[in-house]
């Protein structure tokens, strides 16, 4: 990438510097390189500028200045996203929210907390822990990712099987819309009513505006936790155990599966968790809740695992063993990064009962393209994460990886699944959207975006393919009727 003369003379630099100071604006290509990638290694884009407001008022002033200048922008948290959603090029300005990282208040009585959008996920749980509370959504990147980013992606995490995703834990947002208007979505003080604008905003991948503050619901720490490891000689047996546990009416806090290649990568790394290295699959099962009754559930889960063909099932004896079992899971991506310079972490959801056959299909696809796929995923809710380690300097390998990924996504769609369970569409999944949604459905999504951002300046080009964002096709009679009454309708578009 060569330096463009535009970036050094961008008139917006002076405007933004006046708001956030000279240390809050980056404009040199060398400085902007850091923001050219997110957690997915396959895309690189260089934004025009990056600006870092430190206060709520600065953030509001920045968004209003961008509106006045009619410049595209995208809000960015920690950049740990895995769909290329936090990337921008051309004229686009990155609004970095990392300096807005405070936990503003914790209300233990009502189990609510108010945070700034750049607050790191795990700092919220730390702030709440003194009250025996925590913030339930726990993406694997929770020690780095931000609450604002979690809202943009509607993030999940291992424990969302029992506790739900970000959508289920945010009660209100103050949002600055791309045109500079400040609005409140949701209701922190009682029931919400009217259109679910809060629900529409969560998961909108930075296309609807920027969260200025976030009110989240906190969850009581469980009285008891049991973490179990079951090992299997086949993925199918692990999948059978998964279905049996859920069907028995037990809702584990987490139910995670790792396949043989993942297990061996973890065990060969500094994150070795004591998984049996010769297993073809392990299930990490966590039960939590009231102390009474939990051991009955542990025994039932053990029995179901053995019935499905488990070689062994063990329960962590203490907190350190539990932490170790979890470390292997949470650091699995890091462990795989050790064996290849680049790692594509994919994300798709299938009906849980389709796990055995879709995993077999994935293995066949990997064999056909001669690549190594590691599967580490949220088995309980059918959320697959096939990962492919490769070397992007080798164009042949890169090409095969892309072909295999496409086939894997197709297989998941064909199984009745979704192309993303928690990572978002971003850039990476754009091509699959027309396979999952009809033109009418994609057009409806564009209509919703246009309500929040009629100029389409917020994170342009993401989530819905541009060609879907046509005007809605009305039946001719309707169009005629509409034209004749348009002037009398109460519209807010002006």
């Amino acid at each position: 990438m060569s330096a463009s003369p535009r970036t050094t003379t961008d008139p917006l630099v002076a405007t933004l510097t006046a708001i956030v100071g000279p240390r809050g604006v980056l404009s040199r290509p060398s400085e902007l390189m850091v923001y050219a990638a997110d957690g997915l290694p396959t895309y690189r884009k260089r934004p025009a500028l990056a600006v870092f407001p430190s206060t709520r008022d600065e953030l509001i002033a920045v968004v209003r200045a961008l509106a006045k200048a009619k410049r595209p922008f995208l809000p960015r948290g920690a950049g740990t996203g895995l769909s290329g959603g936090a990337l921008a090029d051309g004229d686009t300005v990155i609004v970095g929210l990392n300096r807005l990282s405070r936990v503003l208040s914790v209300d233990p009585e009502n189990r609510l907390a108010v945070v700034e959008p750049g607050a790191v996920n795990v700092t919220l749980t730390r702030a709440a822990s003194a009250y025996g509370l925590h913030y339930a959504p726990d993406p694997s990147s929770q020690s780095a990712c931000t609450i604002g980013g979690n809202i943009a992606e509607n993030s999940g995490g291992p424990h969302c099987l029992k506790y739900g995703v970000t959508l289920n834990h945010v009660v209100a947002l103050t949002v600055i819309l791309p045109d500079g208007e400040l609005v409140t979505l949701g209701n922190a003080h009682g029931e919400d009513d009217g259109y679910d604008l809060l629900g529409a905003f969560i998961g909108s991948e930075g296309c609807f505006g920027v969260a200025v503050d976030v009110t989240v619901r906190l969850t009581r720490d469980p009285e008891a936790v049991r973490t179990m490891l079951a090992d299997f000689t086949s993925i199918e047996a692990g999948a059978r155990a998964t279905s049996a546990i859920i069907a028995a009416g037990i809702v584990p806090a987490a139910l995670e599966m790792m396949d043989g290649p993942t297990i061996r990568a973890v065990e060969a790394s500094i994150y070795a968790a004591g998984y049996p290295a010769d297993a073809d699959a392990v299930l990490l099962i966590e039960l939590d809740g009231l102390a009474a009754g939990i051991d009955a559930d542990v025994r039932r889960v053990e029995q179901l695992c053995y019935e499905a063909g488990a070689r062994s099932v063990r329960t962590a004896r203490d907190e350190s063993e539990r932490a170790r079992l979890w470390q292997g899971r949470k650091k699995a991506f890091g462990a795989m990064g050790r064996i290849a310079p680049d790692l594509v972490v994919q994300d798709a959801v299938i009906p849980r009962t389709r796990l055995p056959d879709v995993l077999a299909t994935i293995r066949a696809i990997a064999d056909r393209w001669n690549i190594q796929v590691c599967n580490v995923f949220h088995a309980g809710d059918g959320n697959l994460h096939p990962n492919i380690g490769f070397d992007s300097r080798d164009p042949d390998v890169t090409d095969r990886v892309h072909h295999a990924m496409r086939e894997i996504m197709r297989a998941c769609i064909d199984a009745g699944g979704s192309v993303t369970g928690e990572h978002g569409v971003g850039l990476d999944k754009l091509e699959y959207m027309p396979l999952s949604f009809t033109e009418d459905s994609l057009a409806a999504m564009c209509q919703l975006r246009d309500v929040f951002d009629p100029e389409r300046r917020a994170n342009p080009g993401k989530v819905v393919p541009l060609h879907s964002c046509r005007e809605w096709t009305l039946a001719p009679a309707t169009r005629r009727a509409l034209t004749s009454t348009e002037s009398s309708l109460d519209t807010a578009e002006s």
Binding site: D196, G199, L290, A444, L482, A492
Partner: protein
């Protein structure tokens, strides 16, 4: 345009396919003739009056289209009754954990469209937390399929949440996919008489918030409602416990330290859901859970002038619901005057037509974003116009 109440409309149609729903909506849009959308018609007097000459019923869109017990998901057409869903899923020891007020003959489509929830919302949330996807026909005739059939899905902007609770004003919901849960091994309900003054209730609510229990429902009922449920005519706490035998027993022990517990039959919950008489105003007051006692006391004070008021509340959610029987709309004048002064959130479910005034029940869709959404999804304003207080 003929102006009618939201209960009656001159003519009606009952399409049997999504394509027919689309035809009906396109026809209404082309003629600029509003339609009142309904399903099984069990809750028709809810919401503000709709000015519509025609009814569009989805009651003929009936039946479960896909049910995979192993996936704990179910897809049904909008007119399918909750009772039918309970019957089919119950055979697999599963359930849809939504218990909106009204008869079980009510439909899935209306439950989702109105975001209607009951006591189980304490543990399982409201429809927005239980819907995985849906199909709807917008006012432009677009057939939108939102979300999907899997339990976790972030593909695209969230139209599922947008249609849920939109009261049919953005589109006619034709099919819904919901998340199911396994029925608990043990499911028991208990009643505990409680003192009905603000101080005692505040203390009880605080103790319940920290008690080591995880009830499926935790509902306070006033004396009149307790009487309807076969209990003595004094305020009671109703608790529904679910889980395995050990944990239900332990929770029962914790609760018995707070008061005297008696077992109540499971159908007490059905009696609670169907307690409202045909001619009643229904309103929900909500505040932060820490202000629960204040909210409860306000509801009592505001309804003091009316006989036989039924009041119940979700303690954990901080929502108090009042059912106020009336003979003529004038019986409600004092109540509505007081309700206006409530500091928290007030949501009216049912009122006589004259009661729906801006100062009593301000529109929740008057903001710019909501008006723009309505205009884009229903540009001819033919779908349930006015039911949410939108201007017609």
């Amino acid at each position: 345009m003929t102006t009618t109440s939201n209960v009656s409309a001159a003519t009606g149609s009952a399409p049997t396919t999504t394509a027919e729903v689309r035809e009906a909506v396109l026809d209404a849009s082309a003629r600029a003739t509003p339609v009142r959308i309904l399903a099984r018609g069990t809750w028709l007097d809810a919401g503000r009056p709709v000015h519509a000459a025609h009814r569009l019923s989805v009651s003929a869109l009936d039946g479960i289209t896909e049910y995979n017990p192993g996936d704990l998901t179910l897809t049904a057409r909008a007119g399918t009754s909750l009772a039918e869903i309970a019957r089919v899923t119950g055979a697999e020891r599963q359930w849809l954990a939504l218990d909106p007020h009204g008869a079980p003959s009510g439909s899935l489509g209306a439950t989702i469209a109105c975001a209607a929830a009951g006591p189980l919302a304490h543990a399982f949330g409201t429809p927005r937390d239980n819907v995985l996807g849906l199909e709807a026909v917008t006012g432009t005739g677009a057939i939108v399929r939102a979300g999907g059939r899997v339990v976790k899905n972030v593909a695209g902007f969230d139209l599922t949440r947008l249609f849920t609770g939109s009261w049919g004003t953005l589109g006619v919901i034709t099919e819904v996919t919901v998340r199911l849960r396994a029925l608990p091994e043990v499911d028991e309900s208990y009643a505990m008489p409680v003192a009905d003054d603000g101080t005692s209730l505040g203390a009880l609510a605080a103790r319940l918030r920290t008690a080591l229990i995880a009830p499926l429902a935790l509902e306070l009922v006033n004396g009149a409602l307790a009487g309807r449920l076969g209990l003595s005519r004094r305020a009671h706490l109703l608790v529904r416990l679910g889980g395995n035998e050990d944990d239900v027993r332990a929770q029962r022990t914790v609760l018995s330290e707070l008061g005297e517990l008696t077992t109540v039959p499971a159908d007490a919950w059905r009696a609670l859901r169907t307690a409202e008489p045909p001619s009643a105003a229904v309103v929900r007051f909500s505040m932060l859970p820490s202000r629960f006692a204040e909210c409860w006391s306000f509801a009592h004070g505001a309804t003091a002038s009316v006989d036989d008021v039924l009041i119940h509340a979700s303690l954990g959610r901080g929502v108090v619901r009042c059912i106020i029987p009336y003979e003529s709309a004038a019986d409600l004048d004092i109540f509505l005057g007081v309700a206006r002064s409530f500091e928290g959130t007030r949501i009216f479910e049912r009122l006589p037509a004259v009661g729906w005034t801006d100062d009593v029940s301000p529109s929740r869709v008057a903001d710019r974003l909501s008006r723009d959404i309505k205009h884009r999804f229903d540009p001819m304003n033919v779908l349930n116009p006015g039911i949410l207080g939108d201007r017609t």
